[in-house]
């Protein structure tokens, strides 16, 4: 499985652990709900930890633990749900989160320019054939009117 990260196509090294499933070795992503339930156990995990958040989540909840998190995945249930754009903005600007923020799920390759401007630096599109579109769409505009996070 490949993704775009920092404007390059790379192999994805993270494992997606569903709620209730056993943890696996290596770098794992878990839902914010699971993190909130037993983050003590998760902190003992040997690999890196990633959190998956959805539009309904409140990012304030995880602000205190962000230094332990190496990846935050924004899971788009629907490309029209713009709340994740504000979540990304909060993570970068309010909470100073420095590590990877990755868009996943049902976002459009045509949204990556805006996503990059609110601080998303990695993209795992719905279909592998979208990867080249993601890369080229990141350069749709060379000018902007607002401050950017990226």
């Amino acid at each position: 499985m490949q993704i775009v990260k920092d404007k390059k196509i790379i192999d994805d090294t993270w494992s997606y652990v569903t709620d209730g499933a056993e943890l696996v070795n290596g770098n794992i992503t878990i839902s914010l709900a699971r993190w909130n339930q037993n983050h003590q156990q998760l902190l003992a995990h040997e690999g890196k930890l990633g959190l998956r958040i959805t539009p309904n989540d409140t990012v304030d909840e995880m602000a205190a633990n962000l230094h332990r998190i190496d990846l935050i995945e924004l899971e788009f249930p629907d490309f029209a749900d713009g709340r994740l754009f504000s979540h990304a903005w909060y993570l970068r600007n309010r909470f100073g989160y420095q590590a990877e923020i990755r868009a996943t799920g049902h976002f459009m390759p045509d949204q990556v320019f805006y996503l990059s401007r609110v601080g998303v630096n990695a993209f795992s599109p719905e279909k592998t054939e979208y990867l080249p579109f993601v890369l080229s769409n990141l350069d749709d505009f060379t000018v902007k009117y607002q401050n950017s996070t990226n």
């Binding site: 709340r83 805006y114 009117y145 607002q146």
Partner: protein, 550 residues
């Protein structure tokens, strides 16, 4: 008016290239129908009954003659020789071909125009007072702030996928001509006790199927905080606005359901955290203001004697001056309304020939600038009194001098069932029928200030709920019916009209309107305007007559 710099031009050029690529990908099947819909809407492109409809932005209603000629060219080359001015000061083409839209957008970009964010669930074109900068009741010219907001809203990365569309209006005068109380955010330039000018911020107003008068969220906001405050409101709306039901997704519902106090507390908390890093500098404001500097007015314009003489000699000219011109802050100048409400023409429509001619008239008589109004007319804002007679003559030859501005035949009307896929009933045909019934211009002038707004469906594009008389088309088992409301207003005395009674059938609507006018004529006190009478007597006397006749 504002002239693009290199950044502005690059942005619209790159937007055209992006949409061209998106259209090609869609036609090749690389972008789904659903996704392309979201992308094309953000470039003003709807799919209507007969063909796509393209909505072009008229930034706060301001155009120059070059832009008008380009609109004429587009109407001729890509459409059926006409276009339509909307209630939000934009321009619509009703017959473009999907595959030609990127070319149309490229043409627009060559004259500093675009269709960015004229539809879709995003921040739309900011509207303003059509008499901005020339009216006599202005605190400060709102246009520089409109331009600052235009830039800030354009391609805003965080707020392009909002719960629903988002509209802002800015007024700088004592009399609100921009309907600021009926916008998602209304901004009103006001003076505080110290004499400094800032903004009163109104939030949560709106028309459509749930008309709501906005509430004041910030009685006075310093100018330097304009963008940070807008950002705070938009962020709270983006995060908390309802996304489960599109009819409850506008900010007015969020404000209503959470209560102004709670909503305002969330905004305030957010704003205090971003305010200091995002100030508008005086240098920035002044640089934009410089782009709206007054034109080179003739200081001696008032010395002309021909104007008074013409007024006395020519009754038709005097009538036109009375109804179709507005006072100007510079002595000897007038703002001239070009009526797009000729009796035989759909409200707001203009042909390519008229557009070219208006561009020439603007160059000759009004510093090359044209404005569009909320009531779907045009304005030449800076005409000397000595030019008025000649201009009237030329406008008359173009069918643009119908002396009906602000009268009962200056109707606002949506495209209705003839063009719009949302409509339940026709509106253009009804407007025509009402016009035909009111063929006596003296009677129209005797009725005076009366605003009829007519929409073909609940979405209320023609703002029927704030018409002095509002007409709303509804569908009853496949036939067209019309609900009537009385007493609405979008000005300082903002009000939502009261329902007269049950909807009337299509063949009865014109009679109902003429009956309402007759009741007014018979019962008004002296010079009492229609709206004042409705406010005094309520709907009952009208109701009795309208339903007695049917």
């Amino acid at each position: 008016m504002y002239q693009y710099n290199e950044i502005d031009q690059t942005l619209v050029d790159e937007r055209v290239a992006q949409f061209r690529r998106q259209t090609e990908q869609f036609l090749k099947g690389e972008i789904s129908e659903d996704q392309f819909r979201a992308l094309r809407l953000r470039n003003g492109l709807y799919v209507q009954i007969h063909a796509p409809m393209l909505r072009v932005a008229g930034p706060y209603g301001l155009f120059n003659s070059t832009q008008l000629r380009k609109l004429a060219h587009i109407a001729r080359t890509y459409d059926k020789n006409y276009c339509h001015f909307t209630t939000r000061q934009n321009v619509q083409f009703n017959w473009p071909k999907l595959e030609e839209v990127p070319d149309i957008l490229a043409e627009l970009a060559t004259v500093q125009m675009h269709a960015i964010q004229t539809s879709g669930n995003c921040m739309r074109n900011t509207t303003s007072d059509h008499l901005a900068g020339v009216c006599i009741d202005e605190v400060e010219d709102p246009r520089p702030y409109c331009e600052i907001i235009r830039q800030w809203t354009t391609l805003h990365p965080e707020f392009d996928y909002l719960p629903r569309k988002f509209k802002m209006a800015v007024s700088g005068s004592l009399n609100d001509r921009a309907a600021t109380q009926f916008h998602d955010i209304g901004l009103h330039l006001i003076k505080n006790h110290a004499g400094e000018v800032g903004f009163k911020v109104i939030v949560g107003g709106g028309l459509g199927r749930t008309p709501v008068i906005g509430q004041v969220i910030k009685p006075y906001l310093e100018k330097k905080h304009l963008l940070s405050y807008l950002e705070a409101i938009l962020r709270i709306y983006n995060l908390f606005g309802r996304r489960d039901n599109k009819y409850k997704a506008r900010i007015k519902i969020l404000v209503k359901e959470s209560g102004l106090d709670n909503f305002s507390a969330l905004v305030e908390k957010e704003w205090l955290l971003i305010r200091d890093n995002n100030e508008l500098s005086d240098i920035r404001i002044d640089a934009i203001k410089a782009q709206f500097a007054p034109p080179a007015y003739d200081n001696n314009a008032e010395a002309d004697k021909s104007f008074d003489q013409r007024l006395q000699e020519n009754k038709a000219f005097a009538t036109w001056v009375k109804f179709n011109t507005a006072a100007h802050k510079i002595a000897g100048y007038h703002a001239v309304f070009l009526s797009l409400k000729a009796p035989d023409s759909p409200p707001g429509d203009i042909t390519d020939v008229q557009l070219d001619a208006v561009a020439d008239l603007a160059d000759h008589y009004s510093f090359g600038e044209i404005r569009s109004t909320h009531r779907q007319n045009l304005i030449l804002a800076d005409v000397t009194q000595s030019d008025l007679f000649t201009l009237w003559d030329k406008l008359d030859a173009l069918s643009l001098a119908t002396p009906n501005i602000g009268t009962v035949t200056d109707m606002i009307c949506c495209p209705g069932l003839d063009f719009c896929s949302l409509a339940n009933a026709g509106s253009i045909g009804v407007a025509k029928e009402i016009n035909e019934a009111l063929d006596d211009i003296d009677y129209i002038h005797d009725i005076g200030d009366l605003k009829i707004n007519m929409s073909g469906c609940m979405n209320g594009c023609a703002h029927q709920s704030v018409g002095h008389i509002g007409i709303l088309g509804v569908d009853k088992k496949g036939t067209e019916w019309y609900q009537i409301t009385l007493g609405g207003s979008s000005e300082n005395d903002a009000a939502i009209g009261d329902r007269l009674g049950p909807a009337v059938a299509k063949d009865k609507i014109t009679k109902a309107i003429t009956t309402i006018l007759d009741v007014y004529i018979k019962n008004r006190l002296n010079d009492e305007p229609f709206l004042a009478m409705v406010n005094r007597v309520g709907v009952t006397p009208f109701k009795e007559q309208v339903y007695a006749d049917s």
